[in-house]
Every structure is written in structure tokens, then in C-alpha cells.
């Protein structure tokens, strides 16, 4: 029997959902508001919510002081590149795990995921040294490689769960029809898995975009993405909240807009293929 949902209950649930949503969104909202305040208003007590002198001053100062576009471009290349590379590596891996599993497949999947449980700082030193030796320090190539490796377990896991939903008989049919392994993956598996691949790409772009540990530690002036851009505003001279907020807002705006337009895919991605 379907549970009867009364109007009152519905209203209550809606209000609750909005309240929870606002609590979660509040830090971002506050950052955006602060970015339009003067430094004085930003630290005023009691805090001013909407009634302050709105100004774009912070944005122009931030833009003058540092080249936003360069950071943005670095972010795009690093997030996009690492995701693309990750997908190229992960599709064949997930294919083999989903369609020709061995006794060890489950163990390998768990082992891959377990690397995510390692504190990143634990391997910072060796990776830093390797980057120096290989000349990858403060290069976009280096960051693309590192972020791809960091996110690879998640990409493989997600693709694996999506591929599992595709009936093996269809791939066997393709094999009977004369498709080579490459053609089978290109013409049959990939188009069928497009929704799953899209969610995976999206989630990983966001993860890579927001990644701050490696991007801050392995870059200096040249390859720094938007995370480095934000960080540059928390300086030893003290915090300039309004300018920091303006920088943050500019840094998260692209990904916020991307996320807004692809909510549906994103939810699917986050639920790891559990929701059809």
C-alpha cells in the first residue's frame, strides 16, 4: 500500500529540505556576499547580511593583481586532461573487470580503492622528489598525471559498475558479428555506456578542479590552477576577507555553473550506478 502523504507533511518536508540545503549552501553564499563587501564591512560585527555598500572593487583588484585567466586555463587543462587520460586508461580496465572477471577481480578493485585511504601527505615526499628528477615540478603535465592517478580508482570503479549493467551477450554478439576488441569497445560498449561515462567524467572534473593538496604542493608560479589562485590571497600580511572571497567566487563559479546544468548526471554519478 502506498503511504498517504498529507499536504502538511509535504509542506514540512519541503521546508526541511530547503533548510538543510541552505545550511549546506550557506558558506558559499556567504563567500559570494562577502566578495561584494568592502574589507571593513567584511569583518564588521554584527555581520551585515544584505544591507551594505555593494562594490565590485574586490574583483577589479584581484584581476589587477593576478592573472585570473591564466589560473583558469591551468585548471581547465589539469581537470580536463587528467579526466580524459583517466577515462582512456580506465575504460579497458573496467571492460576486463566487468566482462572477463577473474578470481582476483574483486580483490583488485578493493586494493585500488584502498589506495584512496592512504593519507596523501604520506607519499608527498617521494612524489615531490620524483617530480624534481623528472622535471615535472610546476608543470601542467605533471599535475595531469598526478591527478589522473589520484582519481583513477574512482573512475575505474564507476565505469565498472556501469559496465556491469550492460549484458555480456550484446558484446558477444558484436564479437560474432566480426567486431575486433577495439571496435567492440568503440562502437558497442562506449555508446551504450555514455550516460555512465558522462557522470564519471563530470564527477572527476569536479574532483580534479577542487583538488588542493597536490596542486598546491607541486606548483609554484607557472602551472598553478585556481586553487593556487585562492591560496595566494591568504598571505602572511594577514587575511583580506573580501578579496579572498572574490578570488574564491571566481574560482568556483565555472564549476558551480557546470554542476548546476548537469545535476541529473551528477546525482547518477554520485550514487555509483545504484539508481537507474
Amino acid at each position: 500500500m502506498a503511504r498517504a502523504v498529507t499536504q502538511r507533511r509535504k509542506t514540512f518536508n519541503t521546508a526541511l529540505a530547503w533548510a538543510v540545503g541552505l545550511v549546506i549552501f550557506f558558506p558559499i553564499l556567504w563567500t559570494i556576499l562577502t566578495s561584494f563587501k568592502t574589507e571593513g564591512d567584511a569583518i564588521a560585527y554584527p555581520p551585515k547580511f544584505l544591507f551594505f555598500d555593494w562594490t565590485l572593487e574586490n574583483y577589479s583588484i584581484v584581476q589587477d593583481r593576478s592573472d585570473y585567466m591564466r589560473y583558469l586555463w591551468n585548471s581547465v587543462i589539469i581537470a580536463g586532461g587528467s579526466t580524459l587520460l583517466g577515462i582512456i586508461v580506465a575504460v579497458p580496465a573496467a571492460w576486463s573487470m566487468a566482462f572477463v572477471p577473474s578470481k582476483r577481480t574483486k580483490d583488485i578493485l578493493m586494493w585500488m580503492l584502498s589506495t584512496k585511504m592512504l593519507p596523501a601527505v604520506g607519499v608527498l615526499y617521494p612524489i615531490y622528489l620524483m617530480f624534481i628528477k623528472l622535471g615535472l615540478l610546476d608543470t601542467r603535465t605533471g599535475l595531469v598525471i598526478v591527478l589522473m592517478l589520484i582519481n583513477l580508482p574512482i573512475i575505474v570503479w564507476m565505469l565498472y559498475t556501469y559496465f556491469k549493467e550492460i549484458p555480456g551477450e550484446i558484446l558477444e554478439a558484436a564479437r560474432m558479428d566480426g567486431a575486433t576488441l577495439r571496435e567492440e569497445i568503440l562502437y558497442i560498449l562506449t555508446p551504450m555506456a555514455i550516460p555512465g561515462i558522462a557522470s564519471t567524467v563530470l564527477l572527476n572534473v569536479i574532483l580534479a578542479w577542487n583538488e588542493a593538496f597536490w596542486t598546491l604542493n607541486l606548483t609554484a608560479a607557472k602551472a598553478g590552477p585556481l586553487t593556487a589562485f585562492i591560496a595566494s590571497y591568504s598571505s602572511p600580511e594577514g587575511l583580506f576577507y573580501a578579496k579572498l572571497s572574490a578570488a574564491s567566487t571566481m574560482a568556483i563559479a565555472p564549476i558551480l555553473i557546470l554542476g548546476w546544468f548537469s545535476q541529473k548526471q551528477l546525482v547518477r554519478g554520485l550514487t555509483f550506478g545504484a539508481v537507474k
Binding site: E169, I170, E172, M176, D177, A179, Y187
Partner: protein
């Protein structure tokens, strides 16, 4: 041309021997049906022929050439799957054209062959639809279309009708039989349904636990089953088996008599019993008879007009020339 020879072919999955070494010849143009209960290895055997599974030992020859280690596509076989296995993101046209595209045929030739196949299978009006927009029977036809455009040496069918409803199944059964007559290409067909096997096959291969129990034409299997398993599996309703004194009279450990070879009357007969259930099919009536003292239940097939009811005492007369005799091991005694 499509003569398929299995020479001591066996298959193991780890420690489990699914198919013990098997010898089998399927002649060119023959309609061979693998039939058996689920888990008997019939699908595995088909997949070995298709090349979707590797044989553990033995040799598969297609038209005299060793195909044991060839990739599926190189064996010139086409397969129709139980789930149809259509490509959901492609239109019917593209589905049917896919094997030709993989074979790198030029576009004009592909279009011609697709149009031909569509005409043969009544799919012309559906060429631009996707599989999701088709009924079960139409999907099945697309799957067959995808198989015939390649003009393969042989067709392999893996329980192709089991996802269809009863009425459609009979229709598709006829269509496949017709197709076989027209193309005269070897077909290997797997089913657990003995009716499909009996109606379609030139040659039936009865399998149990990976072993071939008997190979023969449908009537051979019906008339002279080699053992109790085949006798019980082929024919519907199932053959009655009687042990003990009655069997000893015929010099056998077990005797078998088919339901259609027993006459039923209310007056007289050598056997008697009480009707437990009567199933009226219109054309026929099946009586399930208890308390005969011969077997727990005897099944009798009678005319649709015969109208005994639950609890009626009836007399049974088996046809003397229709007894099948089996020894203690279950093997046929000639």
C-alpha cells in the same frame, strides 16, 4: 557450406568437467537441435562451436578446416541469442548492417543486403526504429536479420524463442523452419523444449550432464529411445514407466508406454485405476490415473470427447506393440 564436426571436444571450468569428450557430426544443410534439461551443457556446447568459449581439448572442424582456435568472427557462423542481444543505441537498419560494416563491405552492397533481409523478415517498415520500440517478435526477427545478412556457413540459435509468449513462439518456430527450408544452411539450435526439438529438427541431440544420450531423427527418438532418459524426455505428455511384476512379464526391468498408446474405457481392460485429474485441452484429454497398482500415476491421452471425471473407475488397454523395454541400467532391450 557448413559441415560441423566435433572431434573429442571437451570443456572444463576449473575442476568441473562440463562437457566430457564428445564426438558429433552436423551435416551441411542440416537442422540440428541440442535438447536437454537446464544445466545439461547444451548452451556451452553451442558456445564452443561459436568460439565464445575455448575448448579444453579436442578439435572443431567447420567444412573440413580446423576452427578450434579461430576467433568467433572467423568461423563464418552467425548466432541468435536468447536475449536477442540487439544493439540498443542503433536503429534496426544499423543493427542488421553491423556485421557487414565490420566486414568492410561497401555501402551500396550493405544497403542492398539489408533491404533484402528486411524484406524477407517483414522488417522494411521498421528499419529506422530502435530495438526498444519493437515487440518481442520483431526484435527476434531483427536478430535473425543480423544473422542472415552475413550469409554464414551455419546459424547458431541459443534458445531464441524462450522469451516470447506462447502464440508468438509457435509463429516464430514456423518462420525459422521456413527460413531453413529456403536458405538450406546448416542450423544448430539449442532448446530445452522438446516440442521445438521434435517439430523443427532433422537431427536431435539429446544431452544430459554434458553427455550425448542419443542422436537421431525426431521419429527415431520417439520410436526407439535408447534409454529411459530419452524415452522420458521426448514425447509429451511423458512416457509412463512401470516396474516390477508387470515389467517382468515382458522380460524387462522397466517397461515404458506412451500416454497416446493406452486406450481408456469404462467397461473392460487389463489394467484399471481411478481418475485423479482430467485435463481437457479441447482436442485431447489427459487423464492422470491413480491406484492402478502399476505406477504412482499413469497418464493416458484420449480423445477430447472422452469425459471421465475425478473419482471415476476406468479400464486401460495398452497397445501391445508399443511397449518399450529397458534393463536394470535403464538401457533399451531390443
Amino acid at each position: 557450406m557448413g559441415r560441423i564436426v566435433l572431434d573429442k571436444v571437451s570443456k572444463r571450468f576449473g575442476d568441473v568437467e562440463v562437457i566430457p569428450p564428445i564426438d558429433l557430426v552436423i551435416e551441411d544443410g542440416e537442422f540440428a537441435v541440442f535438447v536437454g534439461p537446464s544445466g545439461c551443457g547444451k548452451s556451452t556446447l553451442l558456445r564452443l562451436i561459436a568460439g565464445l568459449e575455448d575448448v579444453t581439448s579436442g578439435q572443431i572442424r567447420i567444412d573440413g578446416n580446423d576452427a578450434t582456435n579461430l576467433a568467433p568472427a572467423q568461423r563464418r557462423l552467425a548466432m541468435v541469442f536468447q536475449s536477442y542481444a540487439l544493439y540498443p543505441h542503433m536503429t534496426v537498419r544499423k543493427n542488421i548492417a553491423f556485421p557487414l560494416r565490420m566486414a568492410k563491405l561497401d555501402k551500396a552492397e550493405i544497403d542492398k543486403r539489408v533491404a533484402n533481409a528486411a524484406a524477407v523478415l517483414n522488417l522494411t517498415d521498421y528499419l529506422d526504429r530502435r530495438p526498444g520500440q519493437l515487440s518481442g517478435g520483431q526484435r527476434q526477427r531483427v536478430a535473425i536479420g543480423r544473422a542472415i545478412v552475413r550469409e554464414p556457413a551455419a546459424f547458431l540459435f541459443d534458445e531464441p524463442l524462450s522469451n516470447l509468449d506462447a502464440a508468438l513462439r509457435v509463429g516464430m518456430r514456423l518462420e525459422i523452419s521456413e527460413l531453413h527450408k529456403r536458405l538450406a544452411t546448416t542450423m544448430v539450435y539449442v532448446t530445452h523444449d522438446q516440442v521445438e526439438a521434435m517439430t523443427m529438427a532433422d537431427k536431435i541431440v539429446v544431452l544430459r550432464a554434458g553427455h550425448i544420450e542419443q542422436v537421431g531423427s525426431p521419429l527415431e527418438l520417439y520410436r526407439t529411445p535408447r534409454n529411459i532418459f530419452v524415452a522420458g524426455f521426448i514425447g509429451s505428455p511423458r512416457m509412463n514407466f512401470i516396474e516390477g511384476a508387470e515389467a517382468a512379464k515382458h522380460g524387462a526391468h522397466t517397461i515404458g508406454i506412451r500416454p497416446e498408446h493406452i486406450a481408456v474405457s469404462s467397461e473392460a481392460g487389463p489394467w484399471s485405476g481411478v481418475v485423479a485429474v482430467s485435463e481437457h485441452l479441447g482436442s485431447d484429454t489427459f487423464f492422470h490415473i491413480h491406484d492402478s497398482g502399476l505406477a504412482e500415476t499413469l497418464t493416458v491421452r484420449a480423445d477430447g470427447e472422452v469425459g471421465f471425471r475425478h473419482g471415476d473407475r476406468v479400464y486401460l488397454t495398452p497397445r501391445d506393440d508399443q511397449f518399450h523395454r529397458f534393463d536394470a541400467k535403464g538401457l533399451r532391450i531390443e
